[in-house]
């Protein structure tokens, strides 16, 4: 009897042990607290939802995903430590971080250890460093901004532009890319206003923009700051068209800024309002599951997790080196890879291209005004 019990226990243990061993670890290093929580937590929920779906459908190559979360606290040094921890935990692929200032630090560790990393960051510098393990889930600002520049010039007829941007790694990248675009298109920059991360008072900045004699304002800041800026702009009656890239018209900013977000125009790579049935379906599911609307970060996280699945299935094994090699120059079409939601390609630097949209905020919701082809 005792022997039988011991045998059963041993078999049980062996089974659980094998089960645990067979799981593939995917690490999500994100801004779950600190100034970037508005972006990182949403990204993480997107990842979580995709992983649950993948696991329910049988996992990757028959193995369940063991999703581990690591909080970077929106601190670049801490994000480096967390990536190190994720690699110690034998992560197959890393997802995150969203803030560019963190990604530029922690991608070095992933590179040294040969672990592929799918980031949500959009700063142009990320894919310009020749790191063969970094891949984007949304294209960099340098790809989106020319589209926005053309919109400002041709659709709005603006010649004089006032620029307000966050003086961080993310904001500086976008600012510099926009300046280059403005020069190419012959747009005149009449005000150039840098702001701080976690800045609360935008009164002086808005006053500066108002007195610059601009035809339109280009804004490039993260979620909470964008919302505070919009509220202040409405309060002071700025009265200029405000355009931006992705963040300014995101669901999070609309939720935070309320009515003040109405009228904002933006170029967005990903939006829950996109006229793409797969995205709308994903967004509806997300809303039901988490009780709030999905924004571009949620969609990025979702696509990131699915990309891991498709690429791994394509190479047929869990091999980090092959994963990185395969992703360079890879295109995934949404018809046969529904989890990527839209057709997408990665180039040799890990930069991606995908169709994008011009949106306007009307009555607290994004409205698509134009669909722009991939470039």
């Amino acid at each position: 009897m005792i022997r039988k019990l011991a045998m059963t226990a041993a078999t049980g243990l062996a089974l659980t042990a094998t089960g645990a061993f067979a799981d593939v670890v995917i690490a999500d290093v994100a801004e779950l607290s600190g100034a970037g929580a508005a972006a990182g937590a949403v990204w993480h929920d997107g990842v979580k939802m995709a992983v649950e779906e993948i696991n329910a459908a049988g996992g990757i190559l028959g193995e369940q995903i063991d999703l581990r979360e690591y909080d970077s606290q929106t601190d670049p040094q801490n994000s480096r430590a967390m990536v190190q921890k994720a690699i110690d935990d034998d992560a197959y692929v890393l997802l995150g971080t969203v803030y560019s200032s963190s990604t530029v630090v922690n991608m070095l560790v992933a590179q040294q250890n040969g672990v592929p990393q799918l980031t949500g960051s959009e700063s142009p510098t990320i894919t310009a460093k020749g790191n063969p393990y970094i891949f984007r889930t949304a294209f960099g600002a340098q790809k989106g901004l020319p589209k926005l520049g053309t919109y400002l010039k041709d659709d709005l007829g603006a010649q004089k532009i006032a620029v307000i941007w966050a003086n961080t790694e993310f904001g500086k990248g976008g600012h510099d890319a926009f300046m280059a675009v403005a020069e190419d298109l012959g747009l005149e920059i009449v005000a150039d206003v840098p702001t701080e991360q976690a800045q609360v008072d935008f009164a002086a900045d808005v006053a500066k923009l108002a007195s610059a004699g601009a035809d339109a304002v280009f804004s490039y800041m993260t979620e909470e700051e964008s919302a505070r800026f919009l509220i202040e702009a409405e309060k002071q009656g700025l009265g200029l068209p405000i355009v931006g890239d992705t963040v300014i018209a995101s669901q999070k900013v609309i939720d935070l800024a309320g009515e003040a977000a109405n009228g904002v125009a933006s170029h967005v790579g990903l939006t829950a309002e996109a006229p793409v049935p797969a995205i709308q379906e994903m967004a509806a599911k997300f809303q039901e599951k988490f009780g709030y609307g999905a924004d571009h970060n949620a969609i990025k996280g979702y696509i990131g997790a699915y990309t891991v699945k498709y690429v791994t299935e394509q190479i047929g094994e869990f091999d980090r080196e092959k994963f990185a090699e395969t992703m360079h120059g890879l295109c995934l079409d949404a018809a046969s890879h529904p989890g990527v939601l839209m057709d997408v390609c990665w180039d040799e630097t890990g930069e991606m291209s995908r169709a994008s949209f011009l949106v306007e905020v009307v009555d607290g919701a994004q409205t698509i005004t134009k669909t722009l082809p991939a470039n």
Binding site: S33, R80, I87, S101, E169
Partner: protein
């Protein structure tokens, strides 16, 4: 066994632990331990300024920043790390003197404001002077040094390298606080008027404590460059000065082991409390408040209170009963 023997035995055991515990640990643990040693050095410097000389400085992170950038620029230019380290400590010592000279005319919370402003200026210079500091993009790819053909490139080797620097720093710190200077620092903290009446040149001694404390910050910064291999202005903002201040206060300002204990708590506690999910920052903050109310002299103060219960004949140092005056 005398009190001195107990101290020596404790130091030997602690050192043995620091040597053997990291063996076989994974990279993440090694990274956290190395960060802890680095912050302990920065906190030791602040302990000298705050705990021994009684002056509040909110600029320790900016001294780390200056040290880190100087070392980064020197090592990226192809020179050995040792030159960067010496330059970092030398420069922060001189800046400490220059800042301290006018700043120490004002003391206590006024000095806190002056150092707070200094920290902000350093942050802005690091961020805006792109040509030198790389601005927001920071500096990247600082090499880890070689010594006599031995590389510190791997995390375990780098840990031992930092451990050697830590032991040197702790030795220098111990020597300072037990030297006539150290006694002058303490005299100054307890009663500046009496210290001056006994012939202690208060201005000079305070300035010296501030400058040496700053140089420790610079030394810690020189370690950060090759440890993280990426530096950017945000890592040296005011919040990080407050973090180092918290290390000193939580551990116990004015105690030799205070900053080391404090740095361990500030770095490791969030990690230990992580299982509480979104609540850990709140719990952490609440614990610090409770600690400060119950024992203003920090964790070492709690230890002494407990020892007092067990061995009532041992009397707590009267000067430490209230903790360093914040």
């Amino acid at each position: 066994m005398t009190r001195k023997h107990v101290h020596i035995a404790f130091a030997v055991i602690a050192l043995a632990l620091l040597i053997f515990v990291p063996l076989g640990q994974k990279n993440y643990i090694l990274y956290v331990l190395t960060s802890w040693l680095m912050f302990s050095i920065a906190a030791m410097g602040l302990n000298l300024t705050l705990g021994y000389a009684g002056q509040i400085s909110l600029a320790q992170a900016s001294f780390m920043g200056i040290g880190a950038y100087v070392t980064a620029l020197i090592t990226l230019a192809g020179y050995h790390w040792v030159f960067g380290w010496l330059a970092a400590m030398g420069l922060t010592f001189v800046i400490g003197l220059l800042l301290g000279y006018p700043a120490l005319r004002v003391q206590h919370h006024f000095l806190a404001f002056v150092t707070l402003a200094f920290n902000t200026i350093v942050f802005l210079v690091l961020r805006n002077e792109d040509w030198l500091t790389g601005g927001n993009h920071g500096l990247v790819g600082m090499p880890r040094p070689d010594f006599f053909g031995i590389s510190t490139g791997r995390n375990l080797q780098f840990y031992y390298f930092v451990l050697v620097l830590f032991v040197i720093s702790a030795g220098v710190f111990f020597w300072i606080v037990n030297s006539p200077w150290g006694r002058a620092f303490k005299a100054l903290r307890e009663n500046p008027v009496r210290a001056e009446s006994l012939g202690v040149d208060t201005r000079r001694i305070t300035l010296l404590a501030f400058a040496i404390g700053s140089a420790f910050g610079g030394g810690a910064g020189a370690i950060m460059s090759p440890l993280v291999q990426f530096i950017e202005p945000g890592s040296f903002a005011l919040i990080h000065s407050l973090k180092i201040l918290l290390m000193v206060v939580v551990g116990g300002a004015g105690f030799f082991y205070g900053p080391m204990l404090g740095a361990a708590v500030v770095i490791l506690l969030p990690e230990v409390l992580r299982f509480t999910d979104g609540y850990y920052l709140m719990i952490y903050a609440a614990l610090v408040i409770v600690l400060m109310v119950y024992s203003p002299s920090g964790l070492i103060g709690i230890g002494q209170k407990l020892m007092q219960q067990i061995r009532p004949r041992q009397e707590v140092r009267k000067d430490m009963a209230k903790g360093a005056q914040l």
